[in-house]
């Protein structure tokens, strides 16, 4: 098959992917019929095309799975769909507890929530079903943990209505040319100190570059991604690691950073 990206290759990749996931509800050919036209139009190299195929496959399969879960009239598909969802939850619940009794309880709670949710109405974005189920499982584990400790916690009513609004993403940014000179000098001083701080405290080149580009130069993740030839989610994940690292610094280092960010004069000695 070489390195070419063609329909035969796409069929092979989809089949391999579905078998690897243990998903049997939808025939691979149905997924390929949606995935291939999208991939064919993008002229991707093999590695990028593989990722694209897998992304489209889980999202398209997710839509079919969701629709089957919401259609009890088609008994065979309905039962198969819920069987697959249960299998996913059983596999994932081990992340939250090693106790088999607790695992079963948490899975049951999650399944009940999902049944209730899908009976009421389906997801507005059915392609998100796997992520929605993961979040439901996570919150079920939290709720179970609370009830087990006889602490009444608020049960999270999980919904998917937050579909986001289209609009411009304008981060409030400074217009340096409008600032007095002394503020521009202060900004430059802060930039230099922050750069040095990141160099000292962030463990990888990528984290330092992303921190500089995002928190000093003010570039959005998508723009940083283009500059670094990465995907936006890779930059956002790196940014999350940077924030976690900085929030977990020693109290002394955190204080230094806070003073820097607030434009305060650092303590000497």
């Amino acid at each position: 098959m070489g390195n070419s990206v063609n329909r035969a290759w796409c069929e092979y990749e989809v089949r391999r992917y579905l078998v690897g996931q243990g998903w049997e509800l939808v025939a691979p050919s149905e997924i390929v019929s949606v995935v291939w036209p999208v991939v064919a139009a993008q002229s991707l190299q093999r590695e990028a095309a593989t990722k694209r195929v897998q992304t489209l496959a889980w999202q398209q399969y997710g839509i079919q799975l969701h629709n089957a879960c919401c259609d009890p009239a088609d008994t065979v598909r309905y039962e198969r769909a819920w069987h697959e969802l249960r299998a996913l939850l059983v596999k994932q619940v081990t992340r939250y507890t090693a106790n088999s009794y607790q695992q079963e309880e948490v899975v049951q709670i999650a399944l009940l929530k999902l049944h209730k949710r899908f009976q009421k109405r389906g997801l507005d974005a059915p392609q998100t079903i796997y992520l929605f189920c993961r979040q439901t499982l996570k919150h079920s584990a939290i709720d179970w943990g609370r009830s087990d400790k006889t602490v009444r916690g608020k049960e999270v009513e999980w919904d998917d209505e937050g579909e986001g609004e289209e609009g411009s993403y304008e981060r409030p940014m400074i217009d340096e040319s409008a600032l007095p000179v002394e503020d521009r000098v202060t900004n430059e001083d802060t930039r230099q100190r922050l750069t040095a701080f990141f160099a000292e405290h962030l463990p990888t080149d990528l984290q330092r570059v992303v921190a500089q580009a995002h928190f000093i130069d003010g570039l959005a993740p998508a723009k940083v991604a283009r500059l670094l030839s990465k995907k936006p989610h890779e930059v956002r994940l790196t940014k999350a690691r940077v924030v976690k690292k900085l929030r977990n610094l020693s109290p002394v280092a955190q204080q230094q950073l806070l003073q820097l960010l607030r434009g305060e004069v650092p303590d000497e000695g």
Binding site: R16, Y17, G20, Q21, Q54, T55, L56, Q59, A125, Q127, T128, Y130, L131, F132, R134, Q135, V156, W158, D159, D160, E161, G162, E163, G164, E165, E166, G167, S168, Y169, R171, P172, M173, I174, A178, L179, D183, T190, H214, F215, I216, G218, A220, P221, A222, P232, H233, R236, L237, K239, A240, V243, K244, L246, R247, L257, L258, L260, L261, R262, G263
Partner: protein, 79 residues
């Protein structure tokens, strides 16, 4: 900083200083699965989900949730 100007590093200050109450985050967290799904599908999420993208810029809790869900998706749904 004077007035209403917001330097890029002030976003980091929000992450460092602010503990967002859970009630504030909940509606944003409901948008998280679609945000991650669309981002991995190559959509321009900064404009498609601008409110959530902006919230991610200010809330360390939601940024961590984003991290957890995206990592989970990459580990579980990609081979």
């Amino acid at each position: 900083m004077k007035g209403k100007w917001l330097a890029p590093w002030q976003q980091l200050l929000l992450y460092m200083e602010r503990e967002t109450p859970a009630g504030i985050c909940l509606p944003h967290l409901e948008a998280l699965p679609l945000f991650v799904t669309d981002e991995l599908a190559g959509k321009k999420v900064d404009s498609l989900h601008s409110a959530f993208a902006y919230h991610l810029d200010t809330c360390a809790t939601c940024l961590q949730e984003y991290f957890d869900l995206t990592e989970w998706t990459l580990e579980t749904l990609y081979v």
